[in-house]
Each structure stands twice: as C-alpha cells, then as structure tokens.
C-alpha cells in the first residue's frame, strides 16, 4: 500500500525533472532500488500508469536495477554482500554489523525526448 506514496513522490520528481530538461516525452525511468526496501514493482507500475495517464510520462517504462544488501562488519571492518537478509558478516561470521546498502530508493536517470 505504501507504493502509492512512493509512486506519488516518484511521479512528482519525474515531472519536475522532465520540465527542467525541456522534455516533451518521458519514455523510460531508470530506478535503483535496494533489496531491503518493501518496493513492489507491480504495485508501483500500476499506480504510475494511473498517475501518468494524459501527461508527458504516459507509457513510460520503469526499469529497476536492484541493489543488493550490503553490511559493514564492525569486527573485521570489511563490507560484504548478503544473500539472506539478516545474516551477519559473510566473511568472518560476526553478527556485529551495520547495513551499508540495500535501502536505496532513487531515480538514477530518465530517457526523454526533447522534441
């Protein structure tokens, strides 16, 4: 359900940036989304299609690059990627870690037509 709030923010940024760039059409939006977020692509797409209908972003595709969960280990001071959420350091096994990646939710770039 929070996809609606996320999509509204996303849509607002897309329109602002498209206008700033003088675009007449937005064809693709490239997103970077962390694995730790509760982002549900289908729900965002559905909301986006509704919001974008009749605007320059109508029909724009949402391409997601998933960002893996990374942790920084406080014991061995190294960063590692996690396959299983909630596991400790995959290098030394310590559970004394902090999240260093996987919470991202941002617009990387947009493909636009400048007319």
């Amino acid at each position: 359900m929070h996809e609606l709030a996320i999509t509204q923010s996303l849509f607002k940024i897309v329109l602002e940036q498209a206008q700033k760039a003088g675009a007449v059409k937005v064809s693709r939006i490239n997103l970077k989304i962390g694995r730790l977020t509760g982002y549900v692509p289908e729900a965002v797409e559905m909301n986006f299609n509704l919001l974008a209908s009749g605007t320059i972003a109508e029909g724009a595709g949402l391409k997601i690059e998933w960002v893996p969960v990374k942790v920084l280990c406080r014991e061995c001071q190294k960063e590692s990627e996690q396959q299983d959420l909630g596991l400790g350091c995959s290098l030394c096994g310590s559970i004394n870690v902090q999240i260093a990646g996987g919470r991202e939710m941002y617009i990387d770039s947009m493909e636009v037509d400048n007319g």
Binding site: M1, H2, L4, A5, I6, S9, L10, K12, I13, Q17, A21, A23, S27, L31, L36, T37, G38, L85, G86, L87, G88, I95, N96, V97, I99, R103, M105, Y106, I107, D108, S109, M110, E111, V112, D113, N114
Partner: protein, 219 residues
C-alpha cells in the same frame, strides 16, 4: 532521445520533512517515539501501560494513526492524556507531513514525551521516517518467532524491541530465544524487553530504560 541523470532519492520529500520535525522536537526537548507493530500485537495496551507509568508525573501527548475510526484515540483520551487522531483513509503508514500537520493542534508546552502510534503494519512504516527519536517495535508472542526474520528492515531500524504477551508463552508456539537471536542478528545492540501488558510483568524495566533516553540529545 536523450538520457538525463537525476540521482534523486524518491523518499527525499518525506526525509526533508522528517528532518524538520526532528529539529522541531529536539528544540523543544520533546522525546518523540514511533510505535510500530502488527495489528493485534497489543500496541495500544502497551501505550496505555506506558502512559500509566509516566503520567501525570510527566507531561505527554499521543498521536494516533489508524486507517479509519478513533477507537484507540478514545482509549487514550480516557486516561486524561491529550490525543490527536490521524486517519490515513486506506494508507498503510504515517508520514512526516501527516505528523507536521497535526502538531499545531497539540498543547506542546512543557511536553516531555510524544508517542506516535503508527498504523498496524510491520512493512510500510519502516520506510517512512517521521522525525522521531526512537522507533519502538512491539512484537507479540502469538504472532510467531519468525517475524524478525520475515520483516528484517523494521527490526534493524528499531531503537528498542518489545516482546509482548509473555504471559501466553505456555500457550503458544513461540521460541523467545530464537526471536531474540534473530533480532540481534539484525540489530546487535538493540535493547529487547520481555513483558506482559496484561500482568504488568517486565514493564518496570522498559519504563526504567525509557527514563534514561533522550539526555544525549539535549532532550
């Protein structure tokens, strides 16, 4: 066709408002707590018990977040504590703008604690910073000990975890050691309080800890 770089956080708008809220609370030395739990975990009862332990010694107020209705708000009001209701009308979480929009309707003079009871949900509230000082997650024993493993984000973000309804431990299949182990894997130093809001068991430790919070931030 051209590609333009944006590099903007989709959550920026909420994060900026949350930062303003946080600054606002800190400047008034108000300790704001965001209470997050599944529906039925006993969040409102936990809040009532916490209020009974603090009020009227300390001045406090409550923001109640619900999808619809004011059932919980009326329960809190009957304790004599000022409460303001936010109905999200279908929304699954509170956001920083909603909090900002109700602050003016609360009497904040001399307030020590502001409790924000979020919508019952372990997923969406984790994504939205409200500007609170402490996120407190309430997990209850009938829900099952797999919740930390299934909802890692909120448990990794929490500044305190409550394991409520310990009076039911004999009746439900809840491995408390396993739950605590999983919470610690996500959040190694988080304080975990085992308690029962029904019997009052363990509440003193939580209240004692709460009393030590906030001093480091000038609250």
């Amino acid at each position: 066709m051209a590609e333009i770089k944006i590099l903007k956080n989709i959550m920026d708008e909420n994060l900026s408002q949350a930062a303003l809220n946080r600054q606002w609370f800190r400047s008034r030395k108000i300790l704001a707590l965001n209470l997050i739990a599944s529906p039925g975990a006993g969040k409102t009862t936990f809040l009532e018990q916490t209020i009974k332990g603090l009020f009227p010694k300390y001045k406090l107020a409550v923001i109640e977040g619900d999808i619809t209705g004011d059932h919980d708000a009326r329960r809190i009001e009957s304790l004599g504590v000022p409460v303001v209701q936010i109905n999200t009308e279908g929304g699954c979480h509170l956001d920083a703008h909603m909090i900002d929009s109700v602050l003016s309707s609360l009497d904040l003079d001399g307030l020590k604690y502001l409790f924000i009871e979020n919508v019952g949900n372990l997923v969406c509230p984790a994504e939205f910073d409200l500007g609170e000082e402490l996120k407190v997650v309430v997990l209850s024993t009938p829900e099952g000990h797999d919740k930390p493993a299934k909802y890692p984000l909120i448990f990794s973000e929490a500044q305190a975890v409550i394991i409520n309804k310990t009076d039911l431990l004999q009746a439900v299949d809840f491995d408390i050691e396993k739950a605590e182990h999983d919470i610690r894997r996500l959040n190694p130093n988080v304080p975990i309080f085992r308690l029962s809001c029904k019997t009052g068991d363990g509440l003193d430790k939580w209240l004692e800890w709460l009393g030590t919070q906030g001093t480091g931030n000038g609250i």
